[in-house]
Symmetry: C2
Subunit: 184 residues, 2 copies
């Protein structure tokens, strides 16, 4: 299922803050529109468009998957008026690793799933893969949460950035948004 993340001067999500964590910045935007696979929206004057697809899970094992599904909340909750988009590019060194090496760094050494789990169900999440579409970033992760969890979300991002997995990140931008009144 392919999604478009359309940055520009209109859209349901109003930019609150943008932080270039690592690497080249992106052209400035004031709004974001997310266009789902079944939506026919006219995209007008976008500053940029990022594309990504949801896919099968790549590292999560069965036990973790059961736990994640049990604890996760869906996107689109009424109270979740704050959104975040983290766009990431991993290094060539990462992609050249074998599956077992990437899994070991991802979870056994960096506890990516375990860290994320601590913030469930407050923070909802959808991962989109972009690398195989020759996009400028490898992943687009979209998060939604209620305003009172903005600091918790920042805490989650900081914890992940301190891991060994993040040593394989070449480029990262962290966008925070607020849902427009009309879109609520």
């Amino acid at each position: 299922m392919q999604y478009l993340f359309v940055g520009g001067n209109s859209g349901s999500w109003t930019l609150k803050k943008q932080t270039v964590i690592l690497g080249e910045p992106m052209p400035d935007i004031s709004h974001l529109q997310i266009v789902g696979p079944d939506e026919n929206q006219l995209i007008q004057n976008p500053t940029w468009i990022l594309r990504g697809f949801t896919s099968n899970i790549r590292y999560t094992n069965h036990t973790e998957d059961v736990e994640l599904k049990k604890q996760s909340a869906p996107l689109g909750r009424v109270e979740a008026t704050h959104g975040a988009m983290i766009i990431l590019k991993k290094s060539v060194a990462w992609w050249n690793l074998a599956q077992d090496e990437r899994r070991r760094i991802f979870e056994e050494e960096s506890k990516h799933i375990q860290i994320g789990m601590k913030f469930l169900p407050e923070v909802s999440r959808r991962l989109h893969h972009s690398r195989d579409l020759n996009e400028p970033f490898d992943f687009i992760t979209w998060f939604e949460y209620a305003p009172e969890y903005e600091n918790a979300f920042s805490d989650l991002a900081d914890q992940l950035r301190a891991t060994k997995e993040w040593q394989y990140i070449d480029r990262e931008i962290d966008y925070r948004f607020i849902k427009s009144e009309q879109a609520r």
Copy 2:
């Protein structure tokens, strides 16, 4: 890196045999043209086009990867005038499995890598992923070998089809080709 597999009545590869192993057949073709990511070819009157991208390895562990790289031969060898295209769709049940469950079926139970390894370096191979592009098949695998290995290749395909992994296959078509004189 995205590749196009263009079926029709022209192309570098002439159809020798087509076998519907499981599921719906595809419209008949007499030739195949493979269009690489950097090629600008005019595609004329194709019967169908299948798309797929090469990507990072998904199940192979480090030890297996080292061994595979040591033993594999590249595509495009002068003597490898025979080609095969196997197109596969896996079941929803497969894609709903977690990573460790798919790996276990793929290698520990089905020995996919181990079986394939026995046919190296004679059979060269390139895997293309299609599922995330919403294509009719999940994978397009392209193989090349010298004429004397046609039977060995059939043996390889038969061995894989007898595995547990293949119980998760919903659709499969096996195409065999011969490289046209002009393309050699």
